[in-house]
Subunit: 337 residues, 2 copies
DNA sequence: CTGTTAGCGCATTCAA
DNA sequence: TTGAATGCGCTAACAG
């Protein structure tokens, strides 16, 4: 391995001087700098990651925690995180907390490896996890990407405002002349959707539409991991209604697609008879037929912003809790009139 | 920070003894071991990642390089890699080479951070990348997950045998009484599919089916990143044929789904008139209608195996090139008779 | 079986 | 503006 010492010898200076050049210390004379840089280049020198870490305690590494890898949502987010991290000289490690026995143990393992900051995603965080994260964030920058967590904690956060996004979607449908809107709620296991439904209710109020209990369908617990099927069940439910809503909003896209599929299979014309609106803008929504109208989260930007917050707090002087809220964008395709 | 020295003081032994206990040196007397372990626990000591690295040169880190994050195939593979890595005390970092300007530069950056091994995925590797990887693998364990690379290099590799998988699919269709099989080739940008088509041709020979040039459709270059659309075009092509094949195999699932969609939209009954077989078993194939018959790669096991090879080579004594070939599994669903 | 000692490569005083 | 000296926390001889 080629060390700082070799460079020093080559350039006829001391180790300290080389160290100064490497760390951009301005107090180095220009021609010594040039000399040293030449030596560095010639020897193809790269500072030892460890030796550097042992002195600085930093690894230039950000951990991205996700509950599931095989979810393109996190893939996109990863892209955003990496965009920013790479630009700033950081490396991202992704970790799947869904597999790990204990999330906290996992995080501790990461901390042992001296990750500099943590971006935390979850489907469902316990109160004790929140406490843990809050304590943790006193020493290590943490960003949570979850609306519920973001609102109810003292943590940095980045999320899409499900409440207002749904609310606005109701306004959109209303403007199209729709007066009766149903809703498909997922079961409780994913907390991100919590405020979406509430935004829907608020939208109803604002648009002076009446709330009809029978227009609200909540997925059964067993449908949990198969949203497509759950959506179909929701479709069946609406089919069974004497009087049907003229639009249906859903907590997530797959529910919308399943529902729409089931309705079509039973002769309902979409969007002529019933409009459908999803949430999340998964890829499938674009390919499926008819293409799904949905609310898109700016996932990539969100990841980018999260990384930026971490890095700013790492490199800046003061730290204050940052709350970054994005608004979902309604993407109108073929399931709405 | 609490160091080995603090533990030594607490347990009334020397640093070396603590180090021995931590590293499971058998030559430590049992009661000293117990004493030290108690001290470690009491002080909640964890060895410094850096100090350790500076001495051993190892990080217990494996890099997984993928050309794209938002591809669930790699998500699944990641799960496999992590299963094994986690079990063995390694951490996985995923890196997107698709974004990076220069792949080699990226790899070098990882090497500077002392990743212990590299699992390399690609859509399309240049000759110079192969050389680079071959040279690299002399010092650092490398596993390539690509059939073309795997066959034509001296590198460790793990891949699914596209050749035989396709070949066997032809046999399967033949047993079902199908005598005329078409094929949708993707364009050349993804080398993984290279041998699939060749396996198809071989299957034709073995089953004494005749090769008909007009039954082979190759996607145009512009269809590149939209396989769904490309598949639809393929469907149109087959529609235009006077005499149609009674089955169509494709290089990848999305092509199959697009093709099937287009055929159905034009009144062809699937699978009664034409059977369709995809490749890869993407999730969409399962939800789409009719559910797609396809060839599944054991993606998760592949990732697991790749990690295992890396770790074995890291921890074992001799190193010899390992070639691990999996066979795809035909998953019969509703697009085949 | 255990302690002593000498670095690993670097950043950072303190002197010059 | 530079160099010499010190120590970060650990492992690995070597001695005992």
């Amino acid at each position: 391995m080629i060390t700082i010492f070799d460079v020093a010898k080559e350039a006829n200076v001391s180790k300290s001087t080389v160290s100064r050049v490497v760390n951009n210390d301005p107090s180095v004379k220009d021609d010594t700098r040039v000399k040293v840089q030449a030596a560095i280049k010639k020897l193809n020198y790269a500072p030892s990651f460890f030796a550097k870490g042992i002195r600085t305690g930093k690894t230039k590494t950000i951990a991205l925690l996700v509950p599931e890898y095989t979810n393109m949502f996190y893939g996109e987010m990863f892209n955003g995180v990496e965009d920013m991290a790479f630009k700033k000289g950081y490396v991202v490690v992704v970790c799947n907390t869904g597999n790990a026995t204990s999330e906290k143990e996992y995080i501790n393992k990461l901390l042992e490896r001296n990750v500099d900051g943590i971006i935390y995603n979850t489907y469902n965080a316990s109160k004790s996890t929140i406490n843990f994260l809050e304590k943790l964030s006193q020493e290590t920058p943490v960003v949570v990407m979850d609306e519920l967590l973001g609102r109810n904690s003292n943590l940095n956060c980045v999320y899409t405002d499900g409440y207002n996004s749904s609310r606005e979607a109701v306004h959109y449908l209303t403007k199209k002349g729709i007066k009766e809107i149903g809703y498909v709620k997922n079961n409780k296991s994913i907390q991100a959707t919590k405020y979406r439904y509430q935004g829907f209710l608020q939208g109803l109020k604002e648009c002076r539409l009446k709330y009809k209990k029978e227009y609200i369908y909540e997925c059964t617990e067993e449908a949990k991991s198969n949203y497509m099927k759950a959506g179909k069940k929701a479709g069946e439910y609406f089919l069974s209604l004497q009087r049907k809503p003229s639009a249906i909003m859903t907590d997530i896209d797959l529910l919308a697609i399943g529902c729409s599929t089931q309705l079509i299979a039973n002769g309902i014309k979409i969007p002529e008879e019933i409009s459908i609106v999803g949430f999340d803008n998964i890829e499938l929504g674009e390919i499926s037929h008819p293409a799904l109208t949905t609310i898109a989260q700016p996932t990539r930007e969100m990841g980018c912003k999260a990384a930026e917050i971490i890095i700013d707090q790492l490199e800046g002087s003061e730290r204050q809790v940052e709350k970054m809220v994005f608004t979902g964008e309604l993407i109108v395709r073929d399931t709405t009139i």
